[in-house]
């Protein structure tokens, strides 16, 4: 049964000259788009907030607290967590709670700074080495081998002696070898990625090698870079503890999570809280960085785009 329509509807009107353009979203770049998607990721946001809280606590709590992080009371050492000292006291009777936040300043700073330095250097180094290949790759990778081959301890001791102690030499000591892993990772990925046709396409457009590395290869390596970086952050925190062991890290009475954890290790059978709190602080930071990293990975994956 055919429905009847008003006849005038059947008047031929022909082409629609105004091509109605559909809703045009402001078109954004890959990175902006990723950021937009990251913000929609609940876990990532939660991680960011947690990080922010940790960061702010590190800045504010040592300032606001009435307890001095250096205040010793050797009559009250190794106290268990309680109302007086929330996280207990350490081997010199100092308040662990305040020290934890104080230590966080150094650790987070070191973790981030180290990660950024080795991130920038490692990705570029690996990218260049992998992309150019041939002799350049050979030389660059041999340099990496030499750097890894020379005992780290020797180098670090020499750094501490020739450059003195302080943040710059600490960062140098931290980063001297740390970037090599990332460089090799990126190189491996780039060796594989550079065979893709879109790299050929870009070459055909006349793109410079640097552009190809930065615009085509590194974005496609990002997920590995992210994982590596989220792993390096706690790595740097522990490395700082090791370096302060040989005098390059923070000097007493300042402290850091790594140093607190190292001390806590000695006491773990009897005063587990002294290990627990710094370890949890490091783990929590690492957890948030990892979740954030996963969120970032997802955000950077255009196939998951919604």
């Amino acid at each position: 049964m055919i429905k009847e329509y008003e006849q005038e509807l059947f008047e031929v009107v022909g082409y629609d000259k105004e091509v109605a353009d559909a809703i045009v979203r402001p078109n954004i770049t890959y990175w902006k788009d990723a950021w937009r998607r990251l913000r929609k990721n609940k876990v990532a946001i939660f991680s960011m907030v947690t990080l922010l809280v940790i960061g702010l606590s590190c800045i504010l709590i040592p300032i606001l607290s009435r307890v001095d992080y250096t205040g010793q009371n050797v009559a009250m050492t190794h106290l268990k967590p309680g109302s007086q000292h929330w996280f207990g006291t350490d081997e010199l009777g100092r308040d662990v709670f305040v020290r934890l936040w104080m230590g966080g300043r150094v650790s987070i700073l070191i973790g981030l700074l180290g990660a950024v330095v080795s991130l920038v250097f490692g990705t570029l180094y690996g990218g260049i080495s992998g992309y150019f290949g041939g002799l350049i790759d050979d030389i660059m990778m041999r340099i990496v081998e030499v750097i890894v081959g020379i005992p780290y301890m020797i180098v670090v001791i020499l750094v501490s002696i020739s450059l003195g102690k302080g943040l710059p030499s600490l960062i140098i000591a931290l980063c001297i070898t740390s970037w090599t892993g990332l460089a090799r990772l990126v190189r491996g990925q780039v060796l594989q990625l550079k065979e893709n046709e879109y790299v050929l396409a870009s070459k055909a457009l006349g793109a410079s090698p640097m552009r190809i590395i930065l615009k085509h290869l590194l974005p496609n390596t990002m997920s590995v870079i992210i994982v590596n970086t989220t792993f390096q952050i706690p790595g740097f925190m522990f490395a700082e503890a090791f370096l302060s062991f040989i005098g390059l890290g923070v000097q007493p009475p300042y402290t850091s999570w790594g140093a607190m954890a190292a001390l806590g290790q000695q006491q773990m059978s009897y005063y587990p809280h002294e290990l627990l709190f710094p370890a949890v602080a490091i783990s929590l930071t690492m957890l948030t960085f990892n979740l954030l990293g996963d969120g970032l990975r997802d955000a950077l994956d255009p196939k998951l785009r919604q």
């Binding site: 290949g133 081998e145 005992p151 990925q189 594989q192 997920s223 994982v227």
Partner: protein, 315 residues
């Protein structure tokens, strides 16, 4: 391929030479007198005799020449800390324990890590994924010292011996002694591999050939085995290579806690003790393995992904 390997061997020699030279001279600029490392200082005459014995009375460059010459004859010198033992002997003696522990640990770590990583990738953003993340976080942020001690406390004692290492038939016997150290030593690898594998697999899953594989009616397992694994392996191999080399130097912490007669303790202590021949020997030993594993890594790259042309041929 043959030519490529020859080329790499040539590079190996050059790189080793640079490492040896650099380490030798850097080591000699370290502060501290190699014969005065104890808490008590020795009388000057005694110290002087020791210096003569170890050749510290000669200029560095002279010593360097002697060292290289000895090296060419396969002589790594005598360890300063353990009089009477040559570095060769120590390494020969201690290497098996480190190697066995290392091999067991990375094999276990690699297997478990890869499996966890793949599972996490397939169950992205579910509780399973988060559990794997937690394991990884624990593996990285719990120092192996703590982990080892916990293992000793919790599992050790009645069930498994908490210290010791098989001394006869070093490679095969006494498996029970190796369980706890292997577990403790592999935790870090599990963490690393699982995280890298997860992302790597996620990247691979994005590719269209996975659709093709699905369209062929392969099961998930077959897809993973035949298509995902291989394509996601490059980062894993990249991390794996230096770990292979790390076997050689052993793990300081694990060996210390479980009383394993490996090289790990030696490496750290030889630097602290300015045991120059040992420093050099372990460095050479480590670098050699490191470089070899990098060569293998590069060759593996090419095998895993035929598009990768490490041997440098032109397109």
């Amino acid at each position: 391929m043959g030519r490529y390997i020859l080329k790499r061997l040539g590079y190996l020699l050059v790189t080793m030479w640079i490492i040896i030279t650099a380490t030798f001279f850097l080591m000699n600029t370290l502060p501290g007198d190699p014969v005065q490392t104890g808490t008590k200082l020795l009388p000057e005459a005694v110290a002087q005799n020791l210096r003569v014995k170890w050749g510290f009375d000669k200029p560095v460059t002279h010593r360097y020449v002697i060292y290289l010459n000895n090296l060419l004859h396969g002589d790594f010198g005598e360890s300063m800390k353990t009089p009477g033992l040559t570095a060769n002997a120590i390494i020969r003696d201690k290497f098996p324990a480190s190697a066995r522990l290392g091999l067991q640990a990375i094999t276990f770590g690699l297997l478990v890590g890869l499996i966890l990583g793949i599972i996490a990738a397939f169950k992205r953003n579910t509780w399973i994924d988060y559990t794997v993340i937690f394991i990884a976080i624990a593996g990285i942020s719990i120092p192996s010292f703590v982990l080892a001690a916990l293992l000793q406390k919790v599992i050790g004692g009645s069930l498994l011996p908490i210290i010791g290492w098989p001394s006869t038939n070093v490679w095969l016997s006494g498996f029970e002694y190796t369980i706890l150290p292997t577990l403790a030593a592999s935790f870090g690898s599990i963490a690393t591999y699982s995280r890298f594998m997860r992302t790597s697999v996620l990247e691979v899953l994005n590719n269209d050939y996975i659709l093709t594989a699905k369209a062929k009616g392969l099961s998930k397992r077959e897809i993973v085995q035949k298509h995902v694994l291989r394509n996601s392996l490059i980062p894993i191999i990249t991390i794996f290579a230096p770990q292979m080399a790390g076997i050689v130097t052993g793990s300081f912490v694990i060996e210390r806690i479980f009383c394993i007669p490996g090289l790990g303790m030696y490496y750290v202590e030889s630097i602290n003790g300015r045991d120059f021949p040992m420093i050099m020997a372990t460095t050479i030993f480590f670098s050699f393995f490191f470089i070899i594993s990098i060569v293998l890594m590069d060759i593996l790259y090419g095998i895993i992904d035929p598009r990768v042309r490490v041997s440098g041929e032109k397109r």
